[in-house]
Symmetry: C2
Subunit: 353 residues, 2 copies
Amino acid sequence: MSALSGGSGSRRPVTLDDVARQAGVSQPTASRVLNGSSRKVAEAYRERVLQAARELGYTPNLPAQAMARGTSRTIALVISLISDPYFAAMAAEIMKQAEAIGLHVSIAVTERQADRELDLVRELRGQQPRAIILAGTGYVDPPSEQQLIDELRRYEETGGRVVLISRSDLPFETVDFDNHEGSRQLARELAALGYERCLILGSGTPLLSMQRRVEGFVAGLVESGVNGARVHHPEFSWTGARDFVLALTDADVRDLQLVFAVTDDLALGALAGLRERGLRIPEDIGVAGFDDITTLRDVVPQLTTVHVALNAVAQEAIYRATTSDSEPTRTTVPAYPVLRASTPPLQASCVIE
Amino acid sequence: MSALSGGSGSRRPVTLDDVARQAGVSQPTASRVLNGSSRKVAEAYRERVLQAARELGYTPNLPAQAMARGTSRTIALVISLISDPYFAAMAAEIMKQAEAIGLHVSIAVTERQADRELDLVRELRGQQPRAIILAGTGYVDPPSEQQLIDELRRYEETGGRVVLISRSDLPFETVDFDNHEGSRQLARELAALGYERCLILGSGTPLLSMQRRVEGFVAGLVESGVNGARVHHPEFSWTGARDFVLALTDADVRDLQLVFAVTDDLALGALAGLRERGLRIPEDIGVAGFDDITTLRDVVPQLTTVHVALNAVAQEAIYRATTSDSEPTRTTVPAYPVLRASTPPLQASCVIE
DNA sequence: TTGTACGCGTTATCAA
DNA sequence: TTGATAACGCGTACAA
């Protein structure tokens, strides 16, 4: 191994200058050929530049381009949790849409800490991204909401775009799905199947969209003439739902016909808990969730849930992130119930109160 | 809305210069206070700079820093698929470790296309990341392997670090888990439970690690005195495994005691297919996978699999990505079988041939 | 059409 | 310790 090629950090990256020199043209000409848009370069030069770039293995220095242009080709995505199948699917869709139009995605995770969100936005702003997309948090009573708004405003004022997904609490471009309507329809369909005595599992963490789902479900029940659904708010996780169900009294459980949880994750936790108590699903009690995560395909019985068109959400988000509107708009993507084996029609005997 | 504050892109971002001017110091001094390391600045100046930065809402322009310093605080992660629970978990762990030491993560997805991998590396190189981590591809006979190596070498020569996860095919720093040993041990344990007539589902796509898992399992069986396991390579997806199982003849299936698939995803697909054929799991046939994805907790029966310590893999990868070694090393993280309800001990009657 | 000269925001070098 | 000044790589008026 020669002294020149060995080790790390020995060589300087190939720059546009190197390419220009090798091609025997000026640096701006090389720039025009390789990265510019107004391609008024003589074919002979063009060829030489392209060949030189190929030979040298030139790649544009993105930070340098970003600085010179004042804007980058990066989109910053702030997300609660990437290991959660729902958010993973959301991130995947957003990346797909972004890459389709030549944008990179830089991901940051809040791990559901509201204060971390503010820090992240501040940091991300420094990346000079084309847009910042905040997906899937949104607390009912956020501690530092005004600071977050200020920070995002400041970012917007310097030409950046802000898009919120699944949280309609802030005055920015918002893409949301219809939480209320989705669970309302679900409640109506389940009521039509005969379900009346329901336990609703909301989120212990005060999240707006989850609250909407609870309200929608209750509304749907009431419209169907079903009242008195019990609402509880266990810790917002699979384990939280499971533990909650395990802690119920036998009398409580015996009286139930259905458990609706505001996410599939919770629903699966509840399902696990109910089974641990010796209950059969769906014979003894029905279970329904919300999100329609892919994972559900491997669960028996197939879980009734509310489907959300994540690809539509992502597409809309990327569109909003790359189009400069004057006024923030609110887009709502539909969500509709999907009835599966976990909530079969109740026998007539059970429907009668 | 005033002409100054309105719309998008009106205001210029706050720069270090603005802060310095407001604090009445020179720009380098402001730099030393806010971003520098050798903090030899008079306390009085220090205070004034910090306050000015706070008032103005200054955030360092990362591209500018990257250019000036010649290196960024970004790690580029190239991953096959982010919606896959296994890769999502891997990405989550890597991000966690990276953020713990103040590094951003930029994610790019290959969608399992080998040629896209090369393009991505070329692009990512332009981001001037601190390191490039390639996770989870690695073909048996890659079409453009040499080009990829050249590209990564070039990146390394300019001071970047390259770390490969779960693919020991390229001459770079590698973190892998013990595919062969993991499935070998699994095979031995299953053989000890009485399983003999096995169907092994490999990957239709020629991936190295998957091949290792097949080889390891076969080796484990042979060591246990079990020969003649059938190996097949359906399309590398849940659907592929399901369809393959559905296409088997009844005679084939009746003869089987176990299906081992090289990933949990495939195993779950196979399980679904077997059930569609009216087989009971595990009474009629056992099923085992590899990866121990979180999703399995909601599957009944609980799936026997091989557990991989992803957090250890991620930690090691980040460590390698931030430590400059002279020679590329190979780290192997253990993988060990976890026996669950999907492969109960076979009754004595079945063990007898 | 091509090349010269400058600016982008930051860090690093060197005098003072 | 602090402050001028020169990079870093690229895009872009402007002049040729």
